[in-house]
């Protein structure tokens, strides 16, 4: 049933292509319906999943029999969580792009193609298939940004596309080599993970594949696509980029690189954790000095994804599930923030320069946007009650426990502090500058926040609050994901 999340997205693409270019309303409705259907299927899949049943195969057919490639879709707690995230992000992203007027049907077609590919990655357990979906996601991203983007869009789009492609090239090298070494008869993840690859091979294959995936997850120093890409992207695309696409990288790193090459992981995890921590602190510091509203959020994504990667490297149950929860949480929160910045503010004020926004006194003009951004900002800085806190706390605990010294945990904790600073600064500059305009200097009142935006923002806020208050809702699912034989061998520290 879950496989239909993929199919329905591509059916949506097909349906959109059949529309006439002037049927804008219909295009929106088709897109929203598709995304809602996808979300409904994802939810259904989640409720049908019995905790503790490990990896449940959804569909397994021989695909390219000559090479031992299967069409193998399956799900466990981790993929379900991320599929759910994708469903939510898809729906909300469409709500936030309700005002797209230029080439509407193409916009939503690319959008749904991206969504479909993302679903595909999260559900694939055949590495070839996973890789196909992974690369499939690159192209719609490029067009979404290059056509509908803003500042420096062509540059940002190209940078993103090339970075992703370089990353996937690295992954491809590792996968082919692993495939050949393991006897060249299967691409099934579950089979390959059982093969004991020789240590010298793992020593280079692991960093190659891991870094290849993590490029998309914004691992420092491969993160530079993220700020430019996010800034250039149209609202919905940056919501998806930060919300879902970055998770593709982290998911790939977890599901493929870490399970295939345990010896390489053991040898490299200290170094990678150090990079993750640098990313946390560096992203936050850089966000602190940005002039462009969206760059702040872009760099904050780098910082938050650093927590995901750090969590992955802890190899403890608590850190790993924290990392997955952080993926979910950051997806929701970043989506919210990008929604505010891109759709609510930029589309109306036509500037994202913090200095200019300062003069607009936006909290008066757009109280709902201000409220939403405050909630999103508080969630992003990791305040208790919101989902980010639980996730980051778990990562910290994991990092403390998983490494011989608490240095990583402490540095990451200080990164949170910088996070607070830039969020506060941004809140102040963007919405609550307190500068009063002389009456009349504002030529026209800004357009009110529309209903689709309100609904979208409310959904995201509600989710981050609910997960923040009762994280067990997702945590039990995520933790069950680490029970399967495939994932449980990652755990070193045992359960708390």
């Amino acid at each position: 049933m879950l496989a239909w999340t993929i199919y329905i997205s591509f059916i949506g693409v097909g349906a959109l292509m059949l529309l006439r270019p002037d049927q804008k309303k219909a295009a929106r409705v088709v897109a929203l319906t598709t995304a809602l259907a996808g979300l409904a299927i994802a939810l259904g899949g989640m409720f049908n999943y019995k905790l503790g049943s490990g990896i449940v195969t959804i569909k397994k057919l021989p695909w390219i029999a000559s090479l031992g490639i299967d069409y193998h879709l399956a799900a466990d707690g981790i993929s379900l969580t991320l599929v759910l995230l994708t469903g939510i992000a898809a729906v909300v992203g469409i709500l936030f792009s309700w005002n797209v007027e230029n080439r509407v049907k193409e916009f939503f077609a690319f959008y749904l193609a991206l969504i479909g590919a993302v679903y595909g990655v999260f559900l694939s357990f055949d590495l070839f298939l996973l890789f196909v979906f992974y690369e499939l996601a690159i192209i719609p991203k490029y067009f979404l940004i290059a056509i509908w983007g803003s500042t420096n869009r062509e540059y940002g789009a190209m940078k993103l596309a090339l970075y992703s492609f370089v990353g996937s090239a690295m992954v491809l090298v590792g996968l082919i080599a692993a495939y050949v070494l393991a006897g060249a008869h299967t691409f099934n993840l579950l089979e390959l993970a059982k093969f004991p690859f020789p240590k010298p091979f793992q020593m280079w294959a692991f960093p190659l594949v891991f870094a290849g995936f993590s490029i998309l997850a914004g691992l420092w120093p491969f993160h530079t696509w993220a700020p430019t890409g996010h800034v250039a992207a149209p609202t919905a695309a940056s919501m998806l980029l930060a919300g879902v696409v970055m998770k593709l990288g982290a998911y790939g790193a977890l599901r493929v690189a870490m399970t295939l090459f345990p010896l390489g992981l053991e040898a490299w995890r200290g170094a990678i954790a150090a990079l993750a921590v640098i990313g946390i602190v560096y992203g936050a510091m850089v966000a602190l000095v940005q002039k462009d509203f969206k760059f702040v959020i872009g760099y904050s994504s780098v910082s938050h994804m650093g927590f995901v990667l750090l969590g992955l490297m802890t190899l403890t149950a608590i850190g790993l599930s924290g990392a997955v929860l952080q993926m979910f949480s950051h997806g929701i929160i970043a989506g919210l923030l990008f929604g505010v910045v891109g759709r609510m503010v930029y589309d109306r004020a036509h500037t994202r320069d913090l200095a200019e926004l300062q003069g607009m006194n936006l909290s008066k003009a757009l109280p709902f946007a201000a409220f939403t951004f405050v909630v999103g900002g508080l969630a992003s800085m990791g305040l208790p009650v919101f989902s980010g806190f639980v996730a980051e706390l778990q990562v910290l605990i994991g990092a403390w426990r998983g490494f011989p010294t608490p240095t990583f945990a402490i540095l990451a904790g200080l990164g949170i502090l910088v996070g607070v600073a830039y969020i506060l600064r941004t809140i102040q500059k963007s919405f609550y500058s307190g500068l009063q305009l002389s009456p009349g200097s504002q030529s026209q009142p800004l357009e009110a926040i529309s209903t689709p935006e309100r609904i979208g923002a409310a959904i995201l806020m509600a989710i981050t609050l609910v997960i923040g208050l009762y994280p067990t809702l997702l945590l039990s699912l995520i933790q069950s994901g680490f029970d399967s034989p495939l994932m449980s061998k990652l755990l070193k520290g045992g359960t708390p």
């Binding site: 706390l393 403390w400 010294t405 945590l475």
Partner: protein, 509 residues
């Protein structure tokens, strides 16, 4: 249950349209009165003979990291709950005049109250931390949006300082959790009492080459920083004068009345039971800090020319006594085990002082608010001779000034007396030095009395209106309480004493 009432109120208010100002005020007030009622009910049902935690509730919350929904109160918690329940409606009434975005203002106030209640009842670190932070956010926005001219920097400074402390505290607790495997205060306290916490750090990962004792000390310092900023202790206090001065009256009242107590509460509830050995090992510096806080803030207050800043510094000064009492109590182990009540005097005084300072300081800020509202000025030298035109105002404000000064018969006296009584035998040098602070406090408070109320009346204040009936109604209950508690401290002592004795017993054992 207690926490939920203001929370509901806040959410309802946030949903209100911004035009319905009076409705917002009314609803906020009634919500806060309901919670006051609940707090009183709690007080009534509280078993004053029992020393342990009462009204316990616990549910599983996030089992994977040992987080539970775990609430309950002992004497200390109850005292603090009562204090917040009293001060918040008082503050709401004092900010009746807020015009701009009233619904948001009152909603944030109720959020703040919910955070306070939550923090004073929570018994699991995670749970407690949520509310600790939850109090911070509304306070930030209250200052930021409704504050004075320098509000932006004041609010930011306030937020960043406090959060810096929160983060180090969080890290400290992560370490504790890793070592002990629980976030439960009561269980942790048991472990801390046996000195087991430091031993646990020996097993769990730290830096290689660093002894477990040093790690325990570092963890302690991390957590300590969180509370020291909140109280605040000198030298972590610089956010406070700005924040208090810039905050709107009602908010200053809650900040000084209740929020600063969160820090002291943390010292008593968390630091003392968890880290007795670590605290003892750095007791002398700590005492110095307390003394410095008392003395320097008194001098600093003396040097101010802005009334609000003076009161702000005096606030630091008063909380310094609390810390002095706490630190002195820690010395107890060294001595023999006679007269438990006597030994508990300092701690008893701390509790009383917390409550009393909450009342008198918020009253003072309330009066300053009236003053500023009427004249737009709050400089020490701007006024003079107000007693002639506004006798009632001056009389009542004088009472609260005297209460703050520690005049016998008013509530401030008994707390400070107990603290000094307890502290002298334990840490006589510190106590003696602190007396200087006491004196200076008296001097500057009297200066206020003199400069503002007496002397020739300036012409421009000739039209200064005395308190009207409504305002009298607002302040009267608090003034009454100041008297009542000054004369019958037993009201409070009776239900905190068992708790205090219990705490001291645990500390000594």
């Amino acid at each position: 249950m207690l926490t939920i009432v203001p929370l509901i109120g806040a959410v309802v208010l946030a949903g209100l349209e911004s035009q319905k100002k009076s409705l917002a005020r009314g609803m906020a007030l009634s919500f806060s009165f309901v919670s006051l009622l609940l707090a009183l009910l709690l007080w009534k049902n509280f078993d004053i003979t029992a020393s342990g935690i009462q009204f316990m509730e616990r549910h599983r919350w996030i089992p994977s990291i040992g987080v539970e929904y775990f609430v309950g109160v002992d004497g200390l918690g109850l005292l603090m709950v009562l204090l917040s329940a009293i001060v918040v409606p008082f503050a709401l009434l004092a900010s009746w005049g807020i015009g701009e975005k009233a619904n948001a203002y009152f909603s944030l106030m109720l959020f703040l109250q919910a955070g306070l209640f939550g923090a004073f009842t929570a018994l699991n670190f995670f749970h407690w931390f949520i509310f600790w932070e939850m109090g911070l956010v509304p306070a930030y926005f209250l200052i930021k949006l409704w504050g004075g001219p320098e509000r932006v920097s004041a609010a930011t400074q306030f937020f960043i300082y406090t959060l810096l402390g929160s983060v180090t505290m969080l890290l400290g607790f992560v370490a504790i959790y890793l070592a002990a495997g629980t976030f439960d205060f009561i269980q942790l306290a048991e472990k801390g009492r046996n000195g087991g916490l430091a031993a646990l750090f020996a097993i769990k990962p730290g830096w290689p080459g660093v002894s477990s004792g040093a790690i325990a000390l570092m963890v302690f310092l991390g957590v300590f920083l969180g509370f020291a900023v909140k109280v605040p202790l000198i030298p972590f206090h610089t956010w406070l004068p700005n924040a208090y001065t810039e905050a709107p009256t009602g908010v200053s009242m809650v900040l000084t009345g209740v929020m600063s107590k969160m820090g002291v509460y943390g010292f008593i509830r968390i630091l003392m039971p968890l880290f007795p050995n670590q605290m003892r090992s750095v007791l002398t510096p700590l005492l110095w800090l307390a003394v410095a806080t008392i003395v320097f803030s008194a001098f600093a207050a003396f040097a101010q020319r802005d009334l609000k800043r003076m009161i702000a510094y005096s606030s630091i000064n008063h909380l310094g006594y609390c810390l002095l009492g706490i630190f002195a109590t820690l010395k107890l182990t060294d001595q023999g085990a006679q007269w438990p009540i006597e030994k508990a005097a300092a701690l008893n005084g701390v509790f009383l002082q917390m409550f009393n300072h909450g009342l008198s300081a918020s009253a003072l800020f309330c009066f300053l608010g009236f003053l500023e509202q009427r004249t737009g000025a709050r400089g020490l030298n701007d006024f003079g001779g107000l007693r002639k035109v506004a006798p009632v105002f001056c009389g009542l404000m004088g009472i609260s000034l005297f209460a703050s000064l520690g005049l016998p018969g008013l509530n401030g006296f008994i707390g400070e007396f107990l603290i000094f009584k307890g502290a002298f035998p334990l840490a006589s040098w510190a106590a003696s030095l602190s007396v200087i602070g006491l004196l200076v406090t008296a001097i500057f408070l009297l200066t206020i009395l003199q400069r503002v109320f007496s002397g020739p009346l300036e012409a421009r204040w000739a039209g200064f209106a005395d308190l009207n009936l409504k305002e009298r109604m607002i302040v009267f209950p608090v003034i009454a309480l100041i008297f009542v508690l000054g004369i019958f401290p037993q009201f409070i002592l009776q239900f905190i004493t068992p708790t205090v004795v219990n705490m001291v017993a645990q500390l000594v054992s």
